[in-house]
Amino acid sequence: MPLEEFKLLEKYGFKLLPYGLAKSEAEAIAFAKKIGYPIVMKLISSQATHKTDIGGVKVGIKNEITLKLAYNEILENAKAHKIKEIDGILVQKMARKGLELIIGGKKDPQFGHMIILGFGGIYVEVFRDVTARLCPITRVDIREMVTELKSHPLIEGARGNKGINMTALEQMMLRTCKFMEKENVLELDLNPVVFDDSGCDLIDVRFTKVETGKLK
């Protein structure tokens, strides 16, 4: 994501997990040192939309030796899948362990801005467990949305897991609505946002504004 957009997001209180886009192994090592281990690494290429499927994602990298191995393995996997246009390797702070949710939004031609909440991560379009509300929303709406999800027992806590931090979810969703309305956003994905009982980590944001129509 370009710096300009990132600054805009920060203005609304969105904080991405620290990251850097490395163009070389040395750069990756430098980023990792700055961010602090453990980290994850991801292939960034317009030719690879499903990074996980082609071995373009390595998680839980704890030190420089594994970083080097992972870096080269990702590049080899990319090569094996005939991916040539590589923007770089994303080095990002490893997110907390928790429940991956998607928070998204779009501007509907009839109803205007709406926000969605769903079971997130790589299976988001497999389970399609999502629910929506029109913006603006209230905390009551958010509670109702949670109970409408099939995965809501996971959000509220199941099998020894504590539920997620509801305040963090509420803040993230209210912030998203505000951002979409104020900036006239056409489509937006916060996916995934990883929640546990103490808070959340935002791993990736993509959005387009109505006037540009391009996904950033």
Binding site: I102, G104, D108, Q110, M114, D189
Partner: protein, 459 residues
């Protein structure tokens, strides 16, 4: 005056002109004339057509401007090209409500003509219903622009349900079903292309319509989504809206690049709007008809259900359906248990569902239901009636209507069976007792009633 202020004239009890009226049988405007006359329209009917002196025994006028009396409503069924000019004449004649049945406008790409029609209506402040629709039906005034013959499409009796429908075909079949089951309606509004007024305006009108207590909304594509949302939110607080959205799953959104774009189509927005406004959404036509019928009942204070049956298995099926749908098979209060022990045969047991077994008569139901009425754990009375058993006869109708009149708790009946049972269903429905052919459809409707009641309590 705004066009929407004149919506009431679309249901005028006083006078209606039928423009394009013809004596030729089976023509749209002939059927409409017949329906007004045979249906005993409460006001005066003025056929208008320069070709005829007389239509169906009534003096026919060359144009509305020739009519000396005041006319409140006009039904237009002429070729599309003439419609704007005719509506202009209606405006000059100070006709306040105009129903345009004719097709041939926006739906066939003739947007210009539709725009012209809209402008004329707005110039004169006319409430314009249509074009390309079935128009209006009001069982109180008997205004009726539905161009389907009465022997083919029965008209329902006066009642409390209003229909607002984009599709004439869907609307008319619901009318037919309502008539079959003697479900009363207040107003029928088929708005077709919605050139000038749309579902938003009609919902707003129905909010204050004294005959209407419940509203059905069938919509394919709204023209003013946000406004519809705001109006639904407001109206639904006073009168429950049961909505069916059709055209849910159009072509996949090819352009969507984000996950959200792929997950959330236009129907997602409708669904969100319904949920946020607490509108009752029906997924299918069957649900629509099932749900709306239960809303003539008082709103329950909770979700505890008391079941009385004369067949054990049907009671079990109903209990299962209640559990799945999050309703509660109530525990009887001590006084109810004691009371029931006295009336049950020695081999019966006091449980919910209460099984009166197959030799139960109307009297058994009456005693049991009277105990249910006073039981604080029971919010809803659920009567399972197997009409096939020997002791059940017409007396059960009297008992159930008496019970209904003597309690502020909602009551529904489940009567499973064939044509003999269907007779009971129709009669009970005619007395305002929602009667269902399956436990599952009954319980799903109850769930909607319970949810809506909860929403109203929290308000």
């Amino acid at each position: 005056m705004k066009c929407s202020d004149n919506i009431k004239y679309l249901f005028s009890h006083n006078s209606v002109a039928v423009i394009g009226a013809t004596p030729i049988p089976n023509k749209v405007s002939n059927v409409i004339m017949r329906n007004l006359i045979d249906g005993k329209y409460t006001g005066k009917v003025y056929p208008v057509n320069p070709k005829y002196e007389e239509v169906l025994g009534l003096k026919c006028y060359k144009s509305v401007l020739e009519i000396k009396d005041n006319v409140e409503c006009a039904i237009v069924a002429t070729p599309a090209e003439f419609v704007p000019k005719i509506v202009e004449q209606c405006g000059k004649k100070k006709i306040k409500g105009v129903i345009v049945i004719s097709g041939g406008f926006g739906e066939v790409g003739n947007e210009e003509l539709e725009e012209e029609l809209k402008k004329v209506a707005e110039k004169y402040g006319i409430a314009l219903l249509g074009p390309n629709c079935l128009g209006a039906f009001d069982p109180y005034t008997k205004i009726d622009s539905i161009f389907l013959p009465m022997y083919k499409l029965e008209r329902p009796p006066p009642g409390e349900i209003a229909f607002v429908t984009q599709s004439g075909a869907v609307g008319s079949t619901i009318i037919d079903m309502a008539a079959h089951y003697k479900v009363g309606i207040s107003k029928f509004i088929s708005y077709g292309n919605a050139a000038s007024l749309n579902e938003c305006d009609y919902l707003k009108f129905l909010e204050n319509d004294k005959e209407t207590k419940t509203i059905i909304l069938y919509v394919e594509g709204a023209k003013e989504g946000r406004r519809l949302f705001e109006i639904m939110k407001k109206v639904n607080k006073k009168k429950p809206i049961i909505a069916l959205k059709a055209g849910k799953y159009g072509k996949a959104i090819l352009a969507a690049k984000s996950h959200t774009g792929n997950l959330a189509g236009s129907y997602t927005a409708y669904k969100a709007a319904f949920r946020q406004a607490k509108v009752v959404e029906a997924e299918t036509l069957e649900e629509l008809f099932d749900f709306v019928r239960v809303f003539n009942q008082p709103l329950p204070n909770g979700n505890g259900v008391g079941i009385v049956t004369n067949g054990g298995g049907m009671g079990v099926l109903t209990s299962d359906a209640l559990e799945i749908n999050g309703l509660v098979v109530a525990d009887f209060e001590k006084s109810t248990v004691e009371g029931l022990a006295k009336i049950l045969p020695s081999y019966g047991s006091v449980n919910n569902p209460l099984d009166l077994i197959a030799d139960a008569s109307a009297e058994g139901y009456e005693r049991a239901l009277n105990l249910f009425i006073t039981d604080k754990n029971i919010d809803i009375l659920c009567v399972i009636l197997l009409t096939q058993t020997p002791p059940i006869d017409e007396r059960i109708i009297g008992v159930l209507t008496k019970i209904k009149a003597s309690t502020s708790k909602p009551m529904i009946v489940i009567a499973v069976g064939g044509s003999y049972t269907d007779k009971y269903r129709r009669v009970l429905e005619g007395y305002g007792v929602p009667t269902y052919g399956y436990p599952d459809s009954a319980v799903k409707a109850l769930k909607k009633l319970v949810e809506y009641a909860e929403f109203r309590r929290k308000m």
